[in-house]
Amino acid sequence: MGATGHDVILKLEDVSKVYSGTVAVKRANFEVRKGAVNVLVGENGAGKSTLMKIIAGVEQPTAGRILLDGDEVSFSSSGDAVSRGIGMVFQELNLFGNMSVAENIFATREITNRFRKIDRKAQERRAAEFLERLEAGIRPDMLVEDLRIGQQQLVEIAKAVSLDARILIMDEPTSALSAAEVEILFKVIADLKARGVAIVYISHRLEELIRIGDYITVLRDGRITGQEEMKNVDTQWIVRQMIGSDAKDFAKADGHVAGEEIFRAEAICLPRATGGLAVDHVSLSLRAGEILGIYGLMGAGRSELFDCIMGRHGQATGEIFIAGKKVRERDTTRRIRRGLALIPEDRQREGLVSILSVASNLTLASLSRFVRLFHISGADERQAVTGMVRELAIKVADPAQEVSSLSGGNQQKVVIGKALLTGPKVLLMDEPSRGIDVGAKADVFRTMRRLSRDGLGILFATSDLDEVMALSDRIAVMSNGKLTGMFDRAEATEAAIVAASAFGHGPVPHTENKAHD
């Protein structure tokens, strides 16, 4: 198949998108071809999702043109794009947890009888057809919130497929899927392709892309750095376009020896609202100066484990110890005082108070350090802020600036700085490199190395295999809330880690119900 084998159906010309604080996409030119899988790849925060949201009408470009079948179009809403035959599977699930699978699939396109009453039977019948193709064992009358994350992702895919779109955008559709589910998805994609649907496929998993892609476009820092037919490229080429050099800039281990045990968790459990356990008897220990990576798919329970450790869930059970001493405090405030600090996964929702200044955000968790009697000493606070800005190389003109005006990477550094100012002994980092640019990523990794050298214990959760392999002294793997593997770096292989992370996935018996009360 040559480049002439597929017609261009959609074309972006010089499209830019500026948010307050960041330029997400800069003058991008992008072509989508019919009957083919158009792969879009790039680091976290490279602008892929933004570009796709522009195509799907969720966001409007700040500048540039969109050509559909050669005619200039502008979508004022996603409904607009849907009516033109463009569907999207969103990375963050856009489902209504309180409604049934069928209701979700037909949301805004409800099948009604002639009295405008929703025809529930017909909806469930049609939904069942789509779900059948995905072989997911999901009944259309189930509530979405009762499904596993992976199954929810399949519902999202079924919803997009049901649109009968000419262009289907899939933004990391496999992030929460097990290996078996990925195979089914690929079958569905092949089927769609054969029917002439143009598929835009975004993923981080290079092996996946090379397998199913026909055309590849690489984004870096909002710019398109390469566009090729897939058969002409190899992994090396993709990586080079993505990060500008042959390998990621993981800070090297410096060979320091880990010290005494600084943190231990024993039998941490967290019941799930829908029954079962979100965190299932997880025990692990961490030594001073050690980096322990926790690998797992989306929904494996990594974030929930961190939440339990930080005391964010009253109903969590289990015990934690810091430097051998049991932590009896149950609330976050006092656990921070005992030397725990969390860098949450979702910067916007949990990491930052976006309308406050960089300085106020940095010192938010450690204000008591700057207080004389009840007065915040401005001089001490400024000193700490400038010190941290320098230490973490936060690019900010004036710390009094609102934190939302910074780029993602610098925002992440502010979150890290906030945690460090509390003087932690144990640092919990949940996806510390998500959504930040390559330079900031390298800075974050270097900071992790430096902190571990200084004797901090670091627990970090990630779904990026390269990252966990390159940074960890030991690797723990979680799946379905359980700890399913623990490897020393020397003996860890990608295959073993992936296998452990898929443990208990696949068609899950729905009668699984182990409430350990």
Binding site: T62, R312, T332, R349, E350, L352, V353, I355, S368
Partner: protein, 354 residues
């Protein structure tokens, strides 16, 4: 928006930043506008006596609005302040007239200072009830304080069977005299209530800027989850703001009873709405996280001067309501426009920079 040529965009950006500065100063501009307007339109408006009288009116709303500001900054609302004003007035009146009967043949009478303290405690206590409902029982602030609004008003009416406690002069032999000082007394030529307002306002502004608690109030309103993860005791912060709001309401209850030398159980009806209006006019964002004590005080002055000025001009009270409503709506519309403009200016500046 996408097809504006680059040059036009740049010049509109600089025009935008001038407009932005004007919009940011809108409450001040509004204050100056009403002052200028009424000094021309209303005779005697600028006389010292009238200015002091107006300040006394404004002070009442300003107290409530300060408490309200902290509550709104945390993302809540306090509808109960008007009722707390009424109930606290009744508490003070009751104590002056009747003291507390111990049921064993003795009755304790308190001096004025003690009565004021007890009344303030009652206000704080009712605020604490609001806080507990919201933090412990997870009742939405709107509903919790609406409930307390009715309960407190009902209690105020029950305390006297709906009658007024008249003539709170007190008896010298019981040491209950001097209640009028708060409302009618003067220090250095200014009414006592104004001095109290100055002290409380400075205290509140200091709290907001220079104490951890103040910082935490803004953090909770800006992003409650992030605040919690950062170790902010969110529940304690919320308890504080409702208790402070109750405290401010109690002050107002005391001042009004003292001014009238009588306590009426219906005092303070719909005061909560004036307080919210002042806070919003002063730039407090109803979605939380933004607001200043200074802005709120200016807002209270705009509303107060507007209504007093209109009265002096002889505008009917029906029209007054219409005008007040319009001013509030315009204030919020301008506020929204400012946010949008601010974003645009930032974007343009960034686009220009790179």
């Amino acid at each position: 928006m996408t097809d504006i040529p680059a040059k036009a965009a740049v010049s509109s950006a600089s025009r935008g930043s001038v407009l932005l500065t004007l919009m940011k100063a809108r409450t001040f501009i509004a204050l100056i506008a009403v002052l200028v307007f009424f000094s021309i339109a209303a005779p005697n408006f600028l006389s010292a006596a009238n200015l002091i009288l107006m300040s006394k009116h404004v002070a009442l709303n300003a107290f409530l609005a300060m408490g309200m500001t902290f509550v709104i900054v945390t993302g809540g609302i306090d509808l109960s302040v008007g009722s707390i004003v009424g109930l606290c007035g009744m508490v003070a009146g009751y104590l002056v007239l009747n003291g507390i009967d111990l049921q064993i043949g003795y009755t304790i009478y308190f001096n004025v200072f003690e009565i004021a303290l007890i009344t303030l405690l009652v206000g704080i206590l009712i605020g604490a009830v609001n806080g507990l409902l919201i933090t412990r029982l997870n009742v939405a602030p709107f509903i919790a304080t609406l409930g307390v609004l009715y309960v407190a008003r009902g209690l105020a009416l029950l305390s006297s069977d709906g009658r007024t406690f008249p003539n709170l002069v007190g008896k010298p032999e019981l040491g209950t005299t001097g209640f009028g000082f708060l409302g009618a007394g003067r220090l250095l030529g200014l009414p006592v209530s104004i001095w109290i307002l100055v002290v409380v306002a400075l205290g509140a502004a200091y709290l907001a800027r220079y104490t951890p608690l103040g910082r935490h109030i803004f953090a909770v309103g800006g992003n409650e989850r992030a605040a919690r993860i950062s170790g902010v005791r969110v529940n304690m912060v919320k308890m504080f703001v409702y208790m402070f709001s109750g405290f401010c309401a109690a002050i107002v209850g005391l001042i009004i009873s003292s001014e009238l030398m009588a306590s009426h159980p219906a005092t303070g009806e719909s005061f909560e709405l004036n307080a919210i209006a002042a806070a919003v006019l002063g730039g407090t964002s109803m979605s939380g996280g933004r607001g200043t004590i200074g802005g709120t005080i200016v807002g209270a002055f705009v509303i107060g001067i507007l209504s007093d000025g209109l009265v002096m001009m002889g505008v009917s009270s029906f029209w007054q309501m219409v005008i007040k409503g319009l001013v509030i709506i315009v204030a919020v519309v301008v506020d929204q426009a400012q946010r949008r403009l601010q974003q645009r200016v930032t974007l343009m500046q960034m686009a220009k920079a790179g």
